[in-house]
Structures are given as structure tokens and as C-alpha cells.
């Protein structure tokens, strides 16, 4: 028996207990998907998918999840670097606070955002008094809620990469005359690129599926703050066919991205 590389390979059966438990594990994910497909009204699908509620939600979801990922990239990478490389008082506390949204129920996060950034909030109040600008219940609110919930995935992934990176390479670059920013741009970032890409995918995926914090902080207004997950929730009450159609859209987008990127970046 020869494998693709042309070398002889010995075929050994995996242990039966691994097969049984592993298949059970996979079924946990496969069965709900089958349930969804079974109930899909295939003939009505084109019409459902082009309805206003779906198109509005799709547009909002894509804009807000991509925007949240971009913000996480710009702010999260420097934050991760500081957490990984600089010893400062309260670093453990900052680390814990940054990862808190991964543990906290998103509804609690949304409420906290509302108290802080709402029209009468700690920061939102002064902003409203000076500019008349209200963050919640706008697409900005959706983006902030998405960022709050999703950015921790980027920070912890990239922070781990900074910690695991052999700093002697950066030292070597410095001795060759590279300034600290040049070292970061030409050596550090390229060396952690796989982790950064993985972190970005995780962040984007979490933002796309975000529900609780968005509903609490940004509300559920079709065309303004109603993302795909919120549209599913609303439609389950009124139009089950539309709910299933939107769910399918989410499943397809997610699978395309995950299949495309997972093997390429995460399992290297």
C-alpha cells in the first residue's frame, strides 16, 4: 500500500472506542444541521432570501462583523503586544478584564455598554450633551457590541503568539539597525501571521453570530440594527420559513469561511 507521497504506509485501524466517541461527538454538530435542512422550504427559498428583512440583515451583519474585526485588529494587536511584552502594574487585572466578555453572558455585556455609552451613561452622557450623538440603537452600537464581544478572541490569540515568539529574532533585526517599529512590521508581524489570521477569523465568526449584546445595546430595528441572528429570532415568532432561510445563510457564510481558512491557517 503506498500513500500519496509514494512511501509505503502501514494501515492500522484506530481504536474502536475512539471511533464510537468521535462519531458521537461529530453528531452533536451534524444533527441540528440536518434538522435545519429537513425543515427548509426549498421551493420558497429564492423569494425568502430576497425579502427585505433578509437583505437588510445580511448587509448589516456583514458591515458590522467586518468593521468589528477591523477595529479589533487596529486596537487589539497593540493591546496584545503590551500585555505580552510590557510588565506594568495591574497587568493581570487588565488581562482578566479583556477576556471577561468571553465568559460573561452577552446580555450583561450589552447592559454594561448601555450604562456606559447610553444617552445618560458614564461616557455616552457627555458625548450626547456636546454633540447630540447617540451610540445605542444605531449601526455604531451594533459595531461596538460586536467588538466588545469578539475582540477578546483576537487579543488572546495574538498575545499567546507574541509570548511564544522567539524574541532573539527581533534582537537580531535590531542589531542590523532596524528601529523598533521596523522590527515589528518586518519581523514580528510576519512571524505571527498565522496566529493573527486565526485570531481574525475567530473574531469575525464571533461577531457574525453575536446576538445578546447587540439586542440589549443596539436594539432590534430592521434596516438599522437588526443583524442576521436578530432577524432569525424575530422571524421564529412570525415567519418560520424566513427564520430557516436566514439560518441557512448564516450556516453557508460560516462554513465557506471556516473551510477556506481553517486548514490554511490554524492547523499549520
Amino acid at each position: 500500500m503506498t500513500s500519496e507521497s509514494g512511501r509505503r504506509s502501514i494501515r492500522r485501524h484506530p481504536p474502536a472506542v475512539f471511533i464510537v466517541l468521535g462519531v458521537l461527538g461529530a453528531l452533536i454538530f451534524v444533527v441540528p444541521l440536518l434538522g435545519l435542512l429537513k425543515k427548509t422550504p426549498w421551493s420558497d427559498l429564492p423569494e425568502l432570501l430576497t425579502s427585505d428583512i433578509v437583505l437588510d440583515a445580511l448587509r448589516l451583519s456583514i458591515i458590522s462583523s467586518v468593521a468589528a474585526t477591523a477595529i479589533a485588529l487596529v486596537l487589539g494587536v497593540p493591546l496584545a503586544w503590551l500585555l505580552a511584552r510590557v510588565e506594568f502594574p495591574g497587568r493581570r487585572f487588565v488581562r482578566a478584564v479583556v477576556t471577561l466578555p468571553m465568559v460573561l453572558p452577552p446580555v450583561v455585556g450589552g447592559a454594561a455598554l448601555l450604562f456606559a455609552l447610553g444617552r445618560r451613561g458614564l461616557v455616552g452622557g457627555p458625548i450626547y450633551d456636546v454633540t447630540g450623538f447617540v451610540l445605542p440603537f444605531s449601526i455604531w452600537g451594533v459595531i461596538i457590541a460586536n467588538t466588545f464581544v469578539a475582540m477578546p478572541f483576537l487579543v488572546i490569540t495574538v498575545e499567546a503568539a507574541f509570548i511564544n515568539l522567539d524574541q532573539r529574532f527581533e534582537g537580531a533585526a535590531a542589531t542590523l539597525g532596524a528601529s523598533r517599529l521596523t522590527v515589528f512590521r518586518r519581523v514580528t508581524l510576519p512571524m505571527i501571521a498565522p496566529s493573527l489570521a486565526g485570531g481574525l477569523v475567530l473574531t469575525w465568526a464571533r461577531a457574525l453570530g453575536e446576538f445578546g449584546a447587540t439586542a440589549t445595546f443596539a436594539g432590534n430595528l430592521q434596516g438599522r440594527t437588526q443583524t442576521l441572528p436578530l432577524a432569525v429570532f424575530v422571524s421564529l415568532e412570525s415567519d418560520r420559513g424566513a427564520a430557516i432561510a436566514i439560518s441557512l445563510v448564516l450556516v453557508v457564510i460560516s462554513l465557506v469561511v471556516l473551510i477556506g481558512l481553517r486548514d490554511r491557517w490554524w492547523l499549520r
Partner: protein
Amino acid sequence: MSGLSARVIVQRGDEFSLDVEIQIEAGQTVALLGPNGAGKSTLVGALAGLIPLDSGRIVLNGTVLDDAQADVFVPPEKRRLGIVFQDYLLFDHMNVLDNIAFGPISRGADRSTARMSAQRWVDDLDLAGFEDRKPPELSGGQAQRVAMARALAAEPALLLLDEPLAALDATTHVRLRRMLGEHLAECHAPRLLITHEPTDAFLLADHVYIVEGGRITQAGDPDQIRRHPATPYVADVAGTNLFAGVSERGTIAIDGTRFTLHAADTSVSGAVLVTVHPRAVALHPTEPHGSPRNTWLATVDGVEQLGDTTRVLLDGPIRLAADITPNAAEALGLRPGLDIWAAVKATEISISAA
């Protein structure tokens, strides 16, 4: 004032401290030879600016790079160094040419100028054809040359070579040592070679410091150190007798003499380096008969006590050192001027292509 002048004191934990003073003139190669854990890499880090001094001072070409008392510290990127690291630390995400051009680009050269100067080093170091390869696709010897090219392309004011040949197989090691020697001669900066290989130190350096346990235990030119080792470590590794010669089927004519040695190893022909460990040299009051293929009459030049061995310096057709036990030395009644027979088995003569 040109050259490097450094007093380096670095405390590492409670256990280890490095305290050495070294001087290197411009255009001079100085070797720092010592066993693993002697503090050699710590010295590289301190000179590079990657480890700050706890005390002492580093002055390069009249500029203070680090002075613990005066609180002066020049960061690594402002020191104009070229460093060849032990495991090279090449950037795996850049091709060979971009690795070599990294120094010039970092110092402000535009991309095309930097690439052109990198190309010159590619040609100089026999790397033509590998410009687009990534470091993981190179052999050990090729990666070593890229590391050398990257350091030299930075036009360093100080060249540091941290065990540059240690990761290579024996054949590549000898070939690259010769190449390194040629390029060191062309570099006008002070050059510091860090190594645990006595042969590399003695062949490449003008001046050798021996460092053990964070302290310099001996300094001198290679010949002085070989002939008068000050510590058991030097006697053991640096005391090795080293000759250049020409080998033909195991018969080696030693350069500058009419003397020949016979080696069991007949695989290498042409110019060779011959090493004979002092412990492999036996001394006899009368001409020995039997298995040793190499015997000759020598004159005792000096006798030194080194720990539990006695080192006997021999004059005669070739000058070399022999290590024997104090008891044997006493039995032979060794004293300077005494004639004595030296014997070395053919299997104890190691040769490698020069």
C-alpha cells in the same frame, strides 16, 4: 581611538557572573575560547546591546556604547554591528536576498541599492542561484553563508561571530572555516570570534582570550597559549598539538620541517591539518619497539604541572606537548635539556583537509 575596548560585568541570577575585559584593534580578529556555560553568549548579548551591563563600559571607535556608571546606553539598532548568531536567526519569511538586504534597508538605503549590495555578497559567498530561496530550504552550510552575508552587508563597525561554525558537519566546517578566514581578512572592523573549538580559534584569530566560569583565565597569541596553557581546561582542549602538512596515503610531510608523521587515516590527501592530543604522546628513555608507527628523539624544553597531569614541552624535529602522569615524569627524571624518545600511534594522528 579605533577598535573595541570593553569591560563587561553582567550578573545572571545568583549563580553566575561575567566579568571580562577585552581589547580588539580595527582589522584584528580576536577569539574568545571557552567551554559551554563560560559566559560567551552573555558577552555577545552585552556587546550587541541586548543585555545591559551591570557594571563596566563598552567603547567602540571612541564612542561609548554602554556605561553603567555614567548611565549611557546605545540601543542595538544604533550600534552598527554585524552578528553571526550560533543558530543564524535568519528570517524564515524572507528570501535569501531580502535577508541579506535587511541591514542596509534598516539603515535607510533604498530598496534597489540595498538589493544591489546584497547581490554582491550573494556572489562573494557562492550563493548565486539561491537568492529566491527561503532559509528553511537551505542546507546548513548555505544558511551559514547567508548569515555571514547578512552580517557583512550591514557594513558593521564591529563584527561578532557567535559560534559561527558550530552547527556544521565536519566537511562543511573545514570548508567554511577557510572561507570565513578570507572574508574576515577583508573586513576592516574589529572582529570577535566566540567559539568552543580550539582549532577555529587558533586558525582564525590573531589573539585569543580563554574564558572559564565568567572570567578570562588566559590571554595571548595562539602559539603562546598552546605552548603554555595556564589551566587544565586550556591544557586539555587548547593544548592540542596542531600542525599543517601535506598528506599522501597517510604519510604526512609537516610544513616547515623535514619530518613526516604516519597516520592510520589514509582517506585525505593534499593539504591537511594534523592534530595530536598531548595525552597520545608517550615518552620513553630508550628507543621503543613495537606498535607505535611514529617515534623520534626529542629534547625536553620545559615541564609544567597542571592539576593531576604533567605537561612536557618537547623540542626536536617538531615542537609539541605531551601530557603524562606525575609518577611517570618522576620515573623518567624529566628536566629541560634531557633527550628522550617520543612515540605516537598512527591511530592517534587525526587529520582533516585544510
